[in-house]
């Protein structure tokens, strides 16, 4: 086989993997739906078409896709150097909380939106990044497995949200639940029709991730360490620095996601926000990323596809009373299959 043919067969193989993944996805869900005694055909149609049948369905899909995109990046960037950031949710929560703290504190100053919004996003970036950096640091310095540390940080962040949302300075006195007062108008992002304006930030983030990973020295070093740690160190790349930077970037992206949820969707801090379809975005981010084997360039498409499934799953529950967990659980099975196929396929090429 010539080299060129080999390259084509590589692309073809990837298409086959994703094709199999989608077929498997629908297959597994169908089996569950059938076992539970629902009409498979109706269920699949609802699952795949709800997003595109109404403008409400589509805007719901976008509203899920944006935080999912950031949560997926949060896992993907550290995963490029083979470490697991399960703390995307915690980083979103922390980023969102700090955004509200700063937003409510500066609110009385009456700064214009043009200053407030970038400032609040910056708060999300820095606080999310620093929160994740804790895990990177614990790995680099104390060899603590990031799976453990990031999950612990999730629980810590969850309590931190409640602390802020119930504190005298920020809480909404009329609410029984931990919820803060509303942010001032100039802190909030608007909508294009029903599409949240944060979609602009999402597109900027997509371009940013592409640029950092593909165009900068930093992205090159992260990619290199992930592919071959020994070779990277031999040729002068510092491992500790790379892992900390990767966690910071992942966390910063999650942090923006948290900020956007607050300033574009809720307008205030709500206990345990950044959840959808019965689970938090961090977990969906992990699944989404694993489906595309942590390829950052494929993340936006995967996040959109997953959101279609999630919106479909919500609709399934509403219209056919199919429990939303069916889709959730199927996703875990699908990821397992995809990982197995990829492992088998990878061996054949070595």
């Amino acid at each position: 086989m010539t080299q060129k043919n080999k390259a084509y067969s590589l692309i073809l193989n990837n298409l086959i993997i994703y094709g199999i993944a989608i077929i498997l996805a629908l297959g597994v869900i169908s089996i569950f739906v059938a076992i539970l005694g629902y009409n498979v055909w109706d269920a699949l149609r609802t699952l795949l078409t709800t997003s595109f049948k109404s403008s409400f369905g589509f805007s719901e899909t976008i509203k899920k896709a944006i935080p999912l995109l950031f949560a997926t990046y949060a896992f993907t960037i550290p995963f490029m150097i083979k470490f697991f950031n399960i703390g995307g949710w915690g980083q979103m929560l922390f980023g969102g909380t700090m955004t509200v703290v700063v937003g409510l504190t500066l609110g009385p100053l009456g700064l214009p939106a043009i200053i407030m919004i970038p400032l609040l996003l910056l708060v999300g970036i820095v606080s999310g990044g620093v929160f994740a950096l804790v895990a990177g640091f614990l790995k680099a310095k104390y060899n603590i497995n990031p799976i453990i540390s990031t999950i612990m940080l999730n629980f810590i962040a969850y309590q931190f949200v409640n602390f802020i949302a119930t504190s005298d300075a920020f809480k909404d006195p009329l609410e029984g639940h931990p919820i803060t007062q509303k942010l001032s108008e100039s802190s909030l992002m608007g909508f294009f029709g029903e599409i949240p304006a944060s979609i602009i930030v999402a597109f900027i983030a997509i371009i940013f991730v592409y640029l950092v990973m593909k165009r900068t020295r930093l992205g090159f070093e992260i990619t290199s360490v992930g592919q071959n740690l020994i070779a990277s160190q031999t040729y002068g790349i510092n491992f500790s620095k790379t892992i900390m930077v990767a966690f910071f970037i992942g966390g910063a992206l999650a942090g923006i996601g948290g900020s956007l949820e607050v300033i574009n969707i809720h307008g205030k801090l709500i206990e345990g926000f950044a959840k959808t379809s019965g689970a938090q975005f961090g977990i969906f981010g992990v699944l989404t990323s694993l489906v595309v084997a942590g390829n950052p360039l494929a993340v936006p498409f995967a996040a959109f596809f997953m959101s279609v499934l999630l919106v479909g799953a919500d609709s399934l529950q509403r219209t056919m009373q199919v429990p939303v967990e069916v889709v959730f659980l199927s996703q875990a099975i699908i990821v397992m299959f995809v990982v197995i196929i990829r492992e088998k396929y990878g061996k054949g090429n070595k």
Binding site: Y142, M152, I156, F163, I283, V339
Partner: protein, 304 residues
Amino acid sequence: MAFITSFIESVLVYTTVYTLASLGILISGRTGIFNVAGEGIMLASASAGFLAAFLSGSWLIGFLAGALMGAFFGLILAFVHETFKVNQFILGICLVIFGSGLSDLLYKLVIGVRLSAPIAPDTLRITIPFLSKVPIISGFLNHDVIVYFMYAATFTAWWFFYRTKIGLETRAIGENPKAADVVGINVSRRRYLATIIGSSLIGIAGAYLTIAITKTYSPDISAGRGFMAVGIAIFASWKPQRAILGGFIFAFIEVMSFQLQIISDKIPYQFFLMLPFISILVIMVVFKKHIEFPASVGKPYSRE
């Protein structure tokens, strides 16, 4: 005195959960399988165990169902890893998600929505004549049968690993699978066994949450304890005798922070709720020098 005794009593309840789960994790870890799926196993077993206990009216059948659900997860983990050499951590995370989905789904399917939540049957209590009346000591002994099971499991695991030949062989696999292989020990078979047995213990810990502690089911009932158990197994350097110590310490922190949250009005209660999660990280940093890993844990093994 009565307060201390009842405090110890409640600590022991959570010690049981933490110890059984971290025992389960360290048993497979000793053969090189790093089971990070503990949270998912606990959730699925909490649900399956509760349902079985509720439907049959028997606590014993409930715990058996919990153990069986755990074994099922262990089988998947061992099979997929040993057959396809898939990364253990990716598998573990998939199983966590699978377990948390499965737990709610099972409950919804079997029970659905009811006005009054179903209650699990009482678990058999064992009191020891005389000793169970002595203050403080009775805190350790005035309990249901699973607490005693936890004592027995810890002792058995210790005895197995340090006083039997098969235990020595099992530890050898975790330290150096090649060394075990060259003296004729079947590495893969041992990994299956350890993962299945370990996961059953995690399953019992999960079932304990619903059948004995809350007596009802609610979503996300393990609330991170499955992950804490992984941390405890690491803190324990994968030794059973230290796992029970770790289990007691973290149960103590959990119960204490719960109690303090009621009495303290200065410090916001959220910081007490954070305490277990912060303390596990702090302890791992502080005890860094005293933490050892089986050398092969998390790594696949093949000969060529």
